[in-house]
Symmetry: C2
Subunit: 166 residues, 2 copies
């Protein structure tokens, strides 16, 4: 099963694509969709949306995973981030994908095994788990991390389902 992880942002939206084969994870691609901060917000949202639609069309993932965000500090930054996140979710829906959301705690626990891990630890573990030749760009690494988290929770759900069937 192919999973697309997304880390949305108005300036940089990271994406990461992995395949899950049994318990094995295989890295397919990662990268970013970046926007020009001098352009008006509606055009930047269109860049994010159409960039993600291209990636969705190209890689045909079976599902999409996005990090839940709860920023406690800055309402204005939260509002702006919401715009990017909204069009990213819409791109997934328009490609008929089921969308799962995970908290930062869930993502870090899944990838590093520790919910308060820092960015560098997440990046290093993403590199190790997917046998990447080098550490991925920060936002792309976060996108791969949420994809890995979704892969793990699927494996876990299957294990629970199987044990429930016994």
């Amino acid at each position: 099963m192919r999973i697309l992880g997304i880390d949305p942002g108005t300036r940089i939206t990271g994406y990461g694509i992995i395949d899950v084969e049994g318990n094995r994870l295989r890295h397919i691609d990662n990268g970013i969709v970046s926007t020009n901060s001098k352009e008006p917000l509606p055009l930047r949202l269109q860049t994010i949306y159409s960039g993600l639609r291209k990636i969705l069309d190209h890689y045909s993932p079976a599902c999409m995973a996005v990090e839940q965000v709860f920023m406690a500090k800055n309402p204005r930054a939260a509002l702006t981030l919401g715009h990017a996140r909204g069009v990213a979710l819409l791109a997934g829906i328009h490609s008929d994908l089921p969308i799962s959301e995970y908290s930062a705690l869930q993502v870090k626990s899944a990838v590093v095994g520790y919910g308060r891990a820092d960015k560098q630890q997440v990046q290093q573990m993403v590199k190790a788990l997917l046998n990447l030749p080098e550490v991925a760009q920060e936002d792309a690494a976060d996108a791969l991390a949420v994809a890995i988290c979704h892969a793990n929770s699927r494996t876990l759900n299957q294990a629970i389902t199987r044990s429930g069937r016994r």
Copy 2:
């Protein structure tokens, strides 16, 4: 010229359509796109987007006006609102419309002549300016208010342009 005003929200998105003929404003339609709060956010965003696209297709406005939002209190509410606002802006861009944004101060000043007017005053003035038979639903009235604000700032810009040409 036909203007579509939008007041985005994840639960209720208000819309209002007016025609501007010289200095005259004519009410065309107003209403809301509502979503089911029990549905997952991505589906609710799709409801908002497709609802607005239908309205855009039906009324073929020449431009779209949306209120700028600066909520100082609650980052989580700001994030959620950002999602709705993002897909509303995308709907406008996908219909090739120029999009203008106005602050609440600009909208209230344009409609009531007083930047700190309350909701009831805005609703009453919208009713009076557009000869509505009754006060519009709150979110639809806000959408009409931002459309009126855009109409006024256009008239003002034209007046400035004209006087500049003299």
